[in-house]
Subunit: 365 residues, 4 copies
């Protein structure tokens, strides 16, 4: 089931960019959860097009409809089907892509794999597919918050070569701090520079990438299922399943490879009657299992593949050709990717919470 | 099934560092494959302890026994059970760890998760668990080689702050070039420096980490299952399920976030009658599907957590204590991790090959 | 994923009887299949309410809408989302069930399991859930027919104590013969008696059960995955997942237990250059794998639990009470269950075809 | 993973009849369970060959070895690997089967599916594969007993046409009553007749089949996961995955199809402060979920395919031939199948217990 994710809290997304609709089915949601469409909508609004002047102007309200799994305002433990109709379709705008492969897009590989593809707006490979993830993630976030006050916070730390200064984000950022800027970087000065950069490259018909950091607090120790379903392995898979991602690192990550063991190890200490670590180079996970510290990881996003410049390419007949430059797109995907990262994180954590509960808390001998 | 990996070619590993044995069951191996224990053994020999003077001196022959799934030298399509007895056990050497949590190890998190743990040599969290992965990976590698000449080559590109010079490894390295140095870096001058560094930190009772790069050639286009089981997502999960890993990146990775789209996109070109890209910043995968170019990715390994220095920690009773320094360990895990990375890569690729074959080649309408 | 079925051709159904809609997501459909909503609709029409005077008069058109996975009339290999809006809702008709458990229904067990339930029309436990199965099964049937002329035919052989005479159905029944009677028994005299019996018990406010037989021809040998995913095991699970089923048997079934081995064994014989069996007590499956003979199995359906007579029961407060008699229902579920059995059969067979293809036909050494 | 069973408590069996060994890996066992090899051995002893004069005289001690997952006598939550070496091998005894297909065995279908097969003693299709199931089931049974006093009891109710009289087994049979006769029927007079019948057909070189009934008491309500993983669906699959099974029915089963709804429905009643049913035609499961009544189901086993009479067959070259009569076998598989049925039942129930616990007990809103 390549379009499903999660073992016990499972989502199955469906839909193409220019088909009638996109959606998701959530299976395994615990019963009794109060839930409204408005709660899901507020997360979708953070990822929808047209929300600011640095994202794509495509006009989509992305109104979610709950089709099943709720009774008198509460979940029943049965599948929750969520639907969002596609609205602002201009399929004619994609005629040039019917036969030409856009560089660094999924056009050629979908054609090679399936022998057929819906070329309109990328079809299934479009980021519209993530609507289902965000909608399902909204439910997971609510459960995590109710269950243990778990908070998941993603934000942009790098756009192109503009980076938040080291040590500038010690405190756990608030949602208001993050959403204060359309670029979703909680460091105001850096955010302002990022916005300028995005506007500048857009003016040149170009695009930029960057890095999103995600932190989770109040996570209990014990989540993660060695040896293959380690917490960081499932988080890594979740993030690398997002369009445009090229890398994932947890805790000290790639930079940590330059430290010695004596510098890198996180010494244990008792604090408030609980085991804690003095430092957090582990990023909240040891041996594939959460250790109760803040979970910290980062994701690399490449520059948007769609650019408004002519590019060399080939067509489905094997002829060399040029791709004309046009269309509506995000010059930088990171601002809208922030809620998607949070959603995927919540989905992984809730799934592992349920798994941990089943295996390690059901029976006491 | 947290100890199983793969959908159609599935491995299930079992065993603890100081239990009677470790092993793996392989389910879904195609029938008719000629296979000998010697072929599996040669891969195990690349990861076994004591193979050089920069790895742990623990004495383990790691002899593999095939218990099922073979008939007259060929696979039958039934499960292949592989067994390796543990030999050089010195459980007394671990008495200090019975109650104390080793910093940046899995001791505390296993205790928190399961309420019990086999403290001897890390128990299940020991890297001995990867024996089963390497044994199963040997089978996958053979099938990939027979099926399409697919070659998987991993090697060390960084140890501590010693890095292979940019552009120095353009050609696909040979196995001989890689294994020429015990550190498994195919760039001789860099390899020599790495060996020196490892010996130096070992002499100080310390440890170092680094980066392994993996490349695959002759992979057909079409492997990878969007939207969640993208090829890079499953490779990322596979690598992040290995002990001591902190990061994964494919193609341009984190460095690619500093390029513009116009610099980063891989233009398409016809070459030899096939679609190719001029550059390979995508790392051989686009939209989650292989595009026929070389697959390229890198994994970050932290410095070994076991060091020969006293460390501050707590015990299972919540008392502050100190961990004495002793034991046999690898001052740098990367040389022995090279065959493990290759094994996991082959397992992911073969699994996706079977999935691609089932869905997209079974029926032609 | 308790609401998903199949490993490679996977369906995920969702929806409640009196919610806004019911539906299904199909993942793993091979690309390039020509498909129209009308083809799916024709299967749905065989299961919909109100189609004859021996089934429930509930008015539902059950119009299917294809929301994704198709492009220019062909499948693309991406998920196919199918939606059917619920129309004839009379939720007030179920007020009596809000607090009272209907005997031999799922009311009590859903309450015990989930702590909450949608009581309207049985909610998720309603047979309306099978709309998604039939819609997805229509796709599977078409692929099986195109791929190898595989035909799946289910029909009613017993209603109450009225049984098709032994040996009366040697030839493979045609669809026209089956649908000639509203009871879907291809033996006209028996069918007529069944219709009379159903009308008679309905007049008394009572209900009856019976047996459906299913046969499949042109199935190739080799389908089925021992040791757990045997073909008959997966067929059995599929059938026993249908509402109101109480038994499943393949080939000689329960009656075969009264034969000796020398009477029961199916001798092999060459016919037309292929291996065949003289008799077919195996029912087309040996060792869990299809042997190329006709697949034959039967399913027992209990009498409909909903009856128009007052019944003793308890309510959610633990008080003894009586359930009043009212509502629209099927006095015998078998006629409408015939297309559902065919759908589930096709889903199992296609899934196993894909699995067989992946493991045993991908590589030849 | 066709050789794995269960979602959260998963077993993976491996091994051939005449390979070096057979075994099983159990993943998902809760930690902290006291466990000894002797406890597993006692279940294996109930299924091993040579235990009485009505089963095969093959000499196998079937000694189990625990290779992992235990530490100081308790489970650790990591995989439990269990190994049984094959001892009494006479591969030469099977030379006749190398090229000839035994009627109603898996010889032909394995050849058709895999293109190769281990012909010695049936290879993977041998009932020796069930050793792993019984060993794993012993663990599941212990957990169920400790957790809630759940008792699983299977016994023989029919051999050939000898049937336990209706109503003779109202009380829940004790293990002693069942094992009092080698045929494992707790009704002494019937058991004696069964033993005579088995000896008689064996003397004629023939074989017989029959029916096993299984009952479970003290099962809580709420186990079972609609809509596909209904409790009876998973039990049915488990039983139909056993060699020689041809049918499965729960509660009233096939006989219930001859009742009217008004006769078949189980009225609810309060008893001891709990909801109960007056009758139990549902067999302890309603809507796919346990209702707290006794779970009751039956399995049909065909007569043993191996008989000591010459039989008509074909060989792998497509030539008509005759199969000579020889070998050691069970003239009736049911006595040894009793512990296997109990094992599979326990595995299904424990798996569903864990699933129910995860989804419906983890969070309370």
């Amino acid at each position: 089931m390549p379009n499903s994710f999660g073992k016990l809290f499972t989502i199955s997304t469906w839909g193409e960019s220019h088909g009638p609709a996109v959606g998701v089915v959530v299976d395994g949601c615990p019963p009794g959860l109060p839930l409204t469409a408005a709660e899901i909508q507020s997360e979708l609004d953070r990822r929808r097009p047209g929300q600011s002047d640095i994202v794509t102007p495509r006009k989509e309200e992305d109104r979610v409809e709950i089709l099943s799994g709720l009774f008198e305002g509460k979940t029943t433990g049965t599948p929750i089907s969520l639907l969002v109709r596609n609205a602002d379709q201009r399929p004619g705008a994609y005629d040039d892509m019917r036969e030409k492969f856009r560089p660094s897009h999924a056009d050629y590989t979908y054609q090679a794999k399936f022998g057929v593809r819906d070329h309109r707006g990328g079809g299934r490979s479009s980021a519209r597919e993530t609507i289902g993830r965000v909608a399902a993630g909204a439910i997971a976030k609510k459960i995590l918050a109710l269950a243990g006050g778990v908070e998941t916070r993603a934000y942009v730390t790098q756009v192109h070569d503009i980076v938040v200064p080291a040590g500038a984000l010690q405190a756990f950022p608030t949602l208001a701090e993050i959403d204060a800027s359309p670029v979703r970087c909680p460091h105001p000065a850096t955010a302002a520079a990022m916005v300028e950069r995005i506007k500048a490259v857009r003016a040149e018909g170009d695009s930029v990438g960057g890095v999103i950091e995600c932190r989770v607090r109040n996570l209990p120790p014990g989540l993660g299922e060695p040896v293959f379903d380690r917490l960081e392995a499932d988080l890594g898979k979740a993030m690398l399943s997002l369009p445009a991602t090229k890398g994932f690192e947890v805790g000290s990550g790639f930079a940590g490879t330059r430290l010695r063991g004596s510098e890198h190890n996180d010494a244990f200490v008792m604090r408030g009657g609980h085991v804690h670590t003095v430092t957090n180079r582990s990023g909240g996970v040891q041996g594939g299992i959460s250790n109760g510290e803040e979970l910290v990881f980062r994701i690399a996003f490449k520059p948007t593949a769609t650019i408004l410049r002519p590019q060399q390419t080939v067509d489905i007949h094997g002829a060399q050709t040029e791709l004309a430059a046009r269309g509506r797109h995000d010059p930088c995907v990171l601002p809208r990717a922030v809620p998607i990262v949070e959603a995927m994180t919540a989905l992984v954590l809730l799934d592992h919470w349920l798994r941990q509960s089943a295996q390690n808390r059901t029976f006491k001998f």
